[in-house]
């Protein structure tokens, strides 16, 4: 079970490395959104730092929403998904491995690059730390929830719009807690409760999403 997990993660990372694009698209998108904004909005530092956390969270959310849709797409198209369903290993573990690789490719780079973006938005070190922490806890949840949406809408007409309808409502609370943490800090309130909430969401998603996604995949292949 562990070995299949490791091999699937490794496989997906290698595949992404070969294609290159998948590694860079989400990151590139994040960089783009966050750098175009100052360009479009105008460079007043005060205004920028006020919208920073929001912009970064929205960018992370969109980066996930747009790319997660393709999580199972190529495996479906070339028949690999069938083989996953027929595996002796539990499907949920394979799904978890895929989500994990996906997060390493799209979520983690955002967290790593975030301090740079924060700099560009004039955030203080403390605020930067808070934004990075919320992103670190929040993005895996985004990926897990996105995987459920992706498997539910696999191969459907209107997949792109449907996945947004299904997943976005679940993303909004994360966005609010995530972006709200910095505001709370500025207002002199603690950020623990925000982080704890994000952590709780992650735990629940971790427990529920792989199973739900696996079930949805079985239904989709019927």
């Amino acid at each position: 079970m562990l070995s299949v997990f490791v091999s699937v993660v490794r496989r997906d990372l290698l595949l992404a490395w070969r294609r290159r694009s998948d590694v860079l698209t989400a990151l590139g998108f994040f960089l783009l959104v966050t750098s175009l904004f100052p360009l479009g909005v105008g460079p007043e530092p005060d205004q920028l730092s006020r919208i920073a956390a929001g912009v970064m969270w929205v960018a992370a959310l969109l980066a996930t929403l747009l790319s997660v849709q393709r999580l199972f797409e190529s495996d479906e198209a070339d028949g690999t998904l069938e083989q996953m369903l027929l595996s002796v290993e539990p499907l949920a573990v394979i799904v978890l491995a895929k989500v994990c690789a996906y997060w390493l490719l799209t979520g983690l780079p955002l967290v790593v690059i975030a301090p740079l973006i924060a700099l560009q938005f004039n955030l203080s070190p403390d605020e930067t730390l808070i934004v990075c922490a919320t992103l670190l806890i929040g993005t895996p949840t985004l990926s897990l929830l996105g995987a459920v949406g992706a498997s539910l809408t696999l191969g459907l007409r209107g997949g792109g719009a449907l996945i947004a309808l299904l997943v976005l409502p679940l993303y909004v609370p994360l966005l609010i807690f995530g972006a709200g943490a910095v505001d709370a800090w500025r207002a002199g309130l603690g950020v623990q409760s925000h982080l704890a909430l994000l952590g709780a969401c992650l735990l629940v998603a971790f427990a529920v999403c792989p199973l739900a996604s696996a079930a949805a995949l079985r239904i989709a292949q019927d």
Binding site: G158, L162, L166, P169, D222
Partner: protein, 265 residues
């Protein structure tokens, strides 16, 4: 799913059991008979409830008359949660026992559930303006209720997007069951988080904290909502049955009988 011996297709239609009514064929006429009682109860309870709400219940000391929104807001909020749980229940039954009817029940409930969720949101927002000074805040209860509304929409949209009814049922069931986590969150959010929204005042364990007339009005309205919901769901489930089973013998016989004038028999 497991082909259990209880599967609707195999239950012999002779001999009474609970599963007797689990087949569309036998449930259809039963649903027809239940319709009128539901409509009448809904009408009477609404009239009684509105009368209590507007003429019997006193004006509130702090909020004035705006508090009367409560008579719609609370029953709507309750119903939106109850219906979701009912949907999740039927979906679980459907997945376990492979009964077609339970999925149909669930699809029939969804639009009404969405309607109640929308009403709860809308009345809540209207009420928020005079009491909190804003239509909307990202408070835990409000957010989770909004999510409930979107879950209903997602369930319906997903079912509409899938052509094969069996697949649509099961994919929808997944949302309904997983989304059910949200309902306790809505209910307990006021307890778990320190929020703007007010806590429960009606509870099983403590004596009610509000005026009895207000409580009566609310309960009457809630019962009316129940009756309406059941009635509408029955109408819709009958329509879904005919739509889905139009190739089977019993629907064909029914439509012949129907053309002779008697659909409810």
């Amino acid at each position: 799913m497991s082909d259990s011996p209880l599967s609707a297709a195999r239950v012999p239609s002779a001999g009474f059991s609970l599963f007797h009514y689990a087949s569309p064929q036998t449930f259809f006429p039963l649903a027809g008979k239940l319709l009128w009682p539901c409509w009448i109860a809904a009408l009477l309870l609404t009239v009684a409830g509105l009368y209590t709400a507007f003429f019997v219940a006193p004006t509130d000391a702090t909020q004035g008359d705006s508090y009367r929104i409560i008579f719609i807001h609370v029953p709507a909020a309750w119903m939106s949660m109850v219906i979701y749980m009912a949907m999740a229940f039927w979906c679980a039954v459907g997945l376990v026992f492979n009964t077609r009817l339970s999925f149909m029940m669930s699809s029939a409930l969804a639009p009404t559930g969405a309607l109640w969720a929308f009403i709860a949101l809308w009345t809540g927002a209207l009420w928020g303006k005079p009491t909190w000074g804003t239509y909307w805040v990202w408070d835990a209860r409000l957010t989770s209720e909004l999510i409930l509304f979107f879950l209903y929409c997602g369930y319906m949209a997903l079912q509409a997007a899938i052509d094969d009814p069996r697949r649509a049922d099961r994919a929808g069931a997944l949302i309904a069951i997983v989304g059910a986590i949200n309902v306790p969150i809505i209910y307990f959010s006021v307890k778990w988080w320190n929020t703007l929204h007010q806590g429960s005042s009606v509870s099983m364990t403590q004596s009610p904290t509000m005026a009895t007339t207000m409580l009566t009005g609310m309960l009457l309205m809630a019962l009316a909502a129940w009756a309406y919901t059941i009635g509408v769901a029955l109408v819709r489930v009958r329509a879904i049955m005919i739509e889905r089973e139009r190739h089977t013998d019993w629907v064909r016989q029914l439509s012949q009988a129907g053309s002779n004038g008697d659909m409810n028999a």
